[in-house]
């Protein structure tokens, strides 16, 4: 395990290093003054010479990069070019809002997708399997932006069950602290906490569902194929020959081994969800990272563009690292195949 751990961590650190090199070089690729792009301070502002010195603007490029790294890890990500707010604090709130959406959607996708996949596999090529699988095919092919509009039309406008956009009704006066709305409501000292909570949940249902559908269907198909493959394996036959009933064969042998391959694909799923979250956040006006990134691109707000790209990439890398570490820890055969160690 140690060897596997070191291997994965090394890859992660190298990737993050390359990522910071890229985001640093973005400052030079963007039009205008690199120091302004980095810090968000314009050359005519009074503190520009100070910033110039702090970020080593007159030194060589390697020194500039080191200073950039120091600022990055200190949480000093500059300020917005359009309204002067600090990027890091702002970004953290948007990050949390996005994560709330993505994690809830991932939970929905996993709790519905995996069991349905196993169900389809256990009824392989029967009518119920075909029904589930064609449903998954449809769900996977429907574009998110179209589905979102349709769901809004149906559930928000026609039926009026859920609100159309936003995180919460502003009348509740919940101050954004962490950015995650459910946590914020919990932390707030509003008199109508329960009602505000209810309202926040009403707001979050539609975006979470729409974000969950595509990964859910993908997960369903992956899980069906993997489980089906495992059910053909000799060790499953041996378990059956031992007289175990079908349920125990599934739970004890087929599903854990199917998860080995499916789990690896969840990293793919996660980046797919991050991409979709940009669309969903824009449609539902959810104050998350995607929304933030799109707006900053329209406003040519370079410090924000750079930070948002950095955060997106870092989140994906970090999730990959977590999945791979869990994968290696839970399934020793993975470590064995890669390093031939225990």
């Amino acid at each position: 395990m140690t060897r596997y751990l070191i291997g994965r961590l090394t890859v992660f650190i190298i990737a993050v290093f390359l990522l910071t090199v890229f985001s640093f070089s973005l400052n030079y690729f963007f039009p205008g003054d690199p120091i302004t792009n980095m810090s968000g301070v314009r050359s005519f502002q009074s503190n520009y010479p100070l910033v110039m010195e702090m970020r080593a603007g007159n030194e060589n490029i390697a020194t500039q990069y080191l200073h950039y790294l120091r600022h990055l890890f200190a949480g000093n990500w500059g300020q917005s070019l359009s309204n002067g707010t600090p990027v890091f604090a702002d970004g953290f709130q948007h990050f949390m809002a996005s994560m709330e959406l993505i994690i809830l959607a991932l939970l929905v996708a996993v709790t519905l997708g995996l069991p349905l996949g196993v169900f389809a596999a256990s009824r392989f090529r029967q009518r119920s399997d075909k029904a589930v699988i064609s449903l998954a095919m449809i769900g996977y092919s429907v574009p998110v932006f179209w589905l979102a509009q349709l769901m809004i039309l149906l559930f928000a406008i026609k039926l009026g069950w859920f609100p159309i956009t936003g995180q919460i009704n502003p009348l509740y006066g919940v101050e954004p602290q962490t950015g995650s709305i459910l946590v914020d409501v919990f932390l707030s000292n509003s008199e109508y906490k329960a009602a505000a909570f209810q309202d926040a949940i009403n707001h979050i249902v539609l975006p979470v569902l729409i974000l969950a559908i595509m990964p859910m269907m993908l997960l369903l198909r992956l899980m069906r194929n993997a489980t089906q493959e495992m059910l053909q394996k000799p060790f499953v036959k041996a378990a059956r020959a031992r007289g175990l009933n079908e349920w125990r064969v599934l739970v004890k042998h087929a599903i854990p081994n199917a998860l080995q391959s499916v789990l690896h694909q969840t990293t793919l799923l996660f980046s797919l969800m991050l991409t979709n979250s940009i669309v969903v956040e824009s449609i539902f006006n959810w104050p998350g990272m995607g929304n933030w990134l799109i707006r900053s691109i329209f406003e040519r707000d370079y410090p924000i563009i750079q930070s948002a790209v950095l955060m997106f990439a870092f989140v994906i890398l970090f999730f990959n690292l977590l999945v791979e570490l869990y994968h290696g820890w839970r399934f020793p055969i993975v470590r064995h195949e890669q390093y031939a160690t225990r």
Binding site: K233, F235, A239, G243, R342
Partner: protein, 330 residues
Amino acid sequence: MQLLDIRNLTVEMQTPHGVVRVLDKVNLQLIEGEIHSIVGESGSGKSLLAKAIVGFINPNWQVTADRLWWNGQDLLAMSPRQRRQITGRDMAMIFQDPNAYLDPNSTVEQQIVEAIPQGDVRGTFMRRRVDRKTRVKRLLHRVGIRDHESIMDSYPFELSQGIAQKVSIAIAIAHRPKLLIADEPTTAMEPSTRLQIHRLLARLAVSQKMSVVLISQDVASILPETKRLTMLYCGQLMETGPAKDILSEPAHPYTDSMIRMSLQTQQQLPHKARLPTLPGAIPTLRHMPIGCRLGPRCPKAQKTCVKAPTATHERQRVFHCHFPLLDTTS
């Protein structure tokens, strides 16, 4: 006591070219604590016979028999659920490629624990844990693994074939079955490992009072302790009876050729001598000969062989042949 009594077991398979009989009226009687070897070349239906015994056959195939009795109970009259219960309680099976038949993602200990019957361990939660562990250790010792500590924590891909086969035997005997079916357990193994596994099976049969059905491809790799021998060819029973008699004095031409083949491989053949094999090849499922299926390849075949021969009983032995090598007139 007769443990297993099979009379005229027939398995038929629907194919696009009509019905194919993959097992044709096979008989098998098994007595408690006896080692019974089934020998036949590939495609002879020996694995299928084993699968039919444990009730593990493709549901689209037709299984009929005049009698398929286990311990006096009719297996064919049972529901699949009952059948599985009986299989899980009284029978066990080990296979050719042991590493593939163990779950790659659980340790040896977990897999043996799973095979130990729930009712065997009693007491409080902690006591049961300790009890299970000692049981696993004891089982590993019984199959000849002394280094139980490291083996218990190993995963199947870390084990050698011989050890993995021993582990699957440990799993198989965990619930003290009355019958162990070994489906070519030592094919593709080194001679020393093969010998170990064979001795282990023979010892277990005696110490556990367990019947063993050993399936093998050639006469050379059956256990020396084998009591009875059954020869199958293309789903038909050729000859069955006490192993000693059959090996010393085969009645059926097929048995005779199999024995001579295994003897010849041990001795030096003269330069450019013909191999003592039967002419021709094993027929495919689509082109099964009528009558005695050995007919086209049999050195003694004559016109009457297009009709399936009836069973000849001769001193505990049964063979199906019109022209046996034994003198039956006496």
